[in-house]
């Protein structure tokens, strides 16, 4: 892990570290999609903590910014961020997979702040298009963000949505790709290669920026440049590391969905804070 402790972004680093600890604690007693959650943390923390016009007081305001989390399996990152933003009570994370709450492996609108449920990949780009078109019709200034996984880009509807976003010149629409290089069980480039990804989106009419998705300075610079070009939908490809923050699971195809023992969770939390790597024995890859 190479943290970027620049003073300007120290508050974001601090939040991201707490969100990562929330995620690790959810990777037991049933488990969660830990790798894809850890890769998306910095993007989500930046968006909710520093960038979006979206907070507890305006969740139903039609002029708010919208964030659609299309790669819904990284929901621990979203809920961890919600906790740090005061949108979700901390103790509710302990209700993970309980019938008494709505905290499960994919986001749902029973949780305040979730704009739309996801889990089936390739859906929310089109939902975001509908919202973006309506904002355009009504002359609104708010923006619509849709966070996608890179594996999710296998789904044809992502590209269908890109065609339509281009046709309707939706420069209020931003696709953010969490480019963590892995789909469920394999490296993307070993299964369904996506590169050159920037050029692919550009050929669909997007204005594209590619950044290090763990460097808050680069993230900040890219998002503050929105709108990139008038009349074009935008794509931010955030190069990330699956499992970011935990060297013992980073970039490992077999650490996708993990269900750790309580002891392993303790070790991983120490590892997150810079202690030696955890000793993991759990057979953690569960194909779902």
């Amino acid at each position: 892990m190479t943290p970027f402790f620049t003073p300007e972004y120290k508050h974001l680093e601090d939040i991201a570290l707490k969100v990562r600890s929330h995620i690790i604690k959810m990777a037991t007693n049933g488990g969660c999609f830990i790798g894809a959650s850890l890769s998306a943390v910095d993007i989500l923390v930046y968006l909710y903590a520093d960038y979006l016009d979206l907070h507890h007081g305006n969740l139903n305001d039609p002029d708010r910014d919208y964030l659609f989390l299309s790669k819904g399996h990284d929901v621990p990152a979203l809920y961890g961020t919600f906790v740090e933003m005061g949108l979700l009570e901390h103790h509710r994370l302990g209700n993970h997979l309980s019938v008494d709450d709505h905290i499960y492996w994919h986001p749902n609108t029973n949780i305040e702040g979730v704009e739309f449920h996801s889990g089936s990949l390739g859906h929310l780009p089109s939902i975001a298009i509908g919202v973006a078109i309506d904002i355009k019709i009504r002359g609104g200034k708010n923006r619509v963000f849709c966070v996608l996984g890179d594996g999710e880009l296998n789904e044809g509807t992502c590209w269908e949505a890109a065609l339509v976003a281009n046709a309707y010149k939706l420069d209020n629409l931003i696709f953010v790709v969490d480019r963590n290089q892995f789909q469920a069980n394999m490296a993307t480039e070993d299964l369904i290669p996506l590169e050159p990804l920037k050029e692919k989106f550009e050929s669909f009419g997007a204005s594209v920026k590619r950044i290090d998705g763990h460097d808050f300075a680069q993230i900040d610079e890219a998002f503050c440049a929105i709108p990139f070009e008038e009349g074009k939908f935008q794509v931010i490809i955030a190069d990330t590391v699956r499992g970011k923050g935990l060297p013992s699971i980073e970039r490992r195809a077999d650490r996708w969905f993990c269900n750790f023992t309580p002891d392993e969770v303790e070790q991983l939390l120490q590892e997150l804070y810079g202690e030696p790597q955890a000793f993991l024995t759990s057979n953690t890859l569960v194909v779902r």
């Binding site: 739309f116 089109s126 065609l163």
Partner: protein
């Protein structure tokens, strides 16, 4: 009043309505000029159109979406189920050329499982008007509700003048002690002819235009089974999952049974041809339906069946 005129009036009266199409403009040819940016054509992208419709509904709109029924209900099925069904958003699905109305297109375009698929989605309502008059009488209610709905669009004209639409109720055309025919959509007209033949042959005939398959008018069915010796279901749909299945489910639910003769497509697609020819080939004309119920041939000529108005 045509479908397009009704939709134009409704959408001009209330700006909550957005008219969408996946480049199927046959029913909405003049809407772009009338509505401007509240008309959205997403191109040949049924899935993206449905997702975008859900997004528009999140913003308080009521999208009325158009596509050929086979692609709307099957290509986009998971989007309808997941993005409209789960949140129960008020998106109104207009499925074009369902059932036999796809006439010469071939099995790719034959939507014969649309009722089955759509009624299987929690929160989704399913309507099948008998003709244009019925359609125009039903749509204002269907579009006014805050619920998702699928409409098996049928813009054909018949001489029959329907009663006003009463939500959740079937239209009881007649009652009879020998046989009651249950029909919906395109097959209403042939069922009406069949009922006329049967009456000429001295039978006491009931006829019910179901109008809504979900919700289903259970009382209309139960009264028919109590009053008639035979129930006949007529549908241009697969035998599985449509009206015949609904009748079976409803009778079982009420711990009763009946003699039921189904007219439906049993484990097969229909022969692609112009509508009048294919209906005769498949045995779905009024005369053929009557003959099968009677068990003997009639001397009358087939009544003329109008060609389908559109070939897509």
């Amino acid at each position: 009043m045509t479908y397009e005129q009704l939709l134009t009036i409704a959408a001009l009266a209330e700006d909550k309505y957005i008219v969408m199409t996946a480049e199927n403009r046959a029913l909405v040819r003049n809407i772009p000029q009338a509505l401007g940016n509240r008309f959205i054509d997403t191109g040949i992208t049924e899935q993206t159109m449905i997702g975008a419709a859900a997004g528009l509904a999140l913003r308080g709109r009521v999208p009325v979406v158009h596509a050929l029924t086979s692609f709307l209900t099957m290509r986009a099925f998971e989007f309808i189920r997941t993005d409209i069904g789960i949140p129960a958003l008020p998106v109104k699905l207009s499925g074009f050329i369902p059932g036999f109305l796809s006439d010469g297109n071939g099995p790719t375009h034959q939507a014969l499982e649309d009722i089955s698929l759509m009624r299987g989605i929690p929160n989704m309502e399913v309507y099948a008007p008998a003709d244009e008059d019925d359609l125009i009488k039903m749509l204002p209610y269907i579009w006014s509700t805050p619920r998702p709905a699928y409409v098996r669009i049928n813009t054909r004209t018949t001489p029959y003048v329907h009663a006003d639409y009463e939500p959740g109720k079937a239209e009881i055309i007649s009652t009879g002690s020998d046989v009651t025919i249950l029909a919906y959509g395109l097959m209403f007209e042939q069922s009406l002819q069949a009922a006329t033949y049967l009456a000429q042959e001295g039978k006491s005939v009931g006829l019910i235009n179901l109008r809504s398959l979900k919700p289903f008018d259970e009382q209309a069915l139960l009264q028919a089974t109590a009053n008639s010796k035979l129930i006949v279901t007529v549908e241009d749909h697969f035998l599985t999952g449509g009206l015949y299945s609904i009748v079976a489910e409803t009778l079982l639910k009420h711990k009763t049974t009946a003699d039921v003769l189904p007219f439906a497509l049993n484990e097969k697609w229909f022969k692609p041809a112009l509508l009048p020819a294919l209906m005769k080939h498949e045995g779905f004309t009024g005369k053929q339906i009557a003959e099968k119920i009677l068990g003997y041939q009639l001397q009358d000529e087939h009544q003329e069946i109008k060609l389908a108005a559109f070939a897509e």
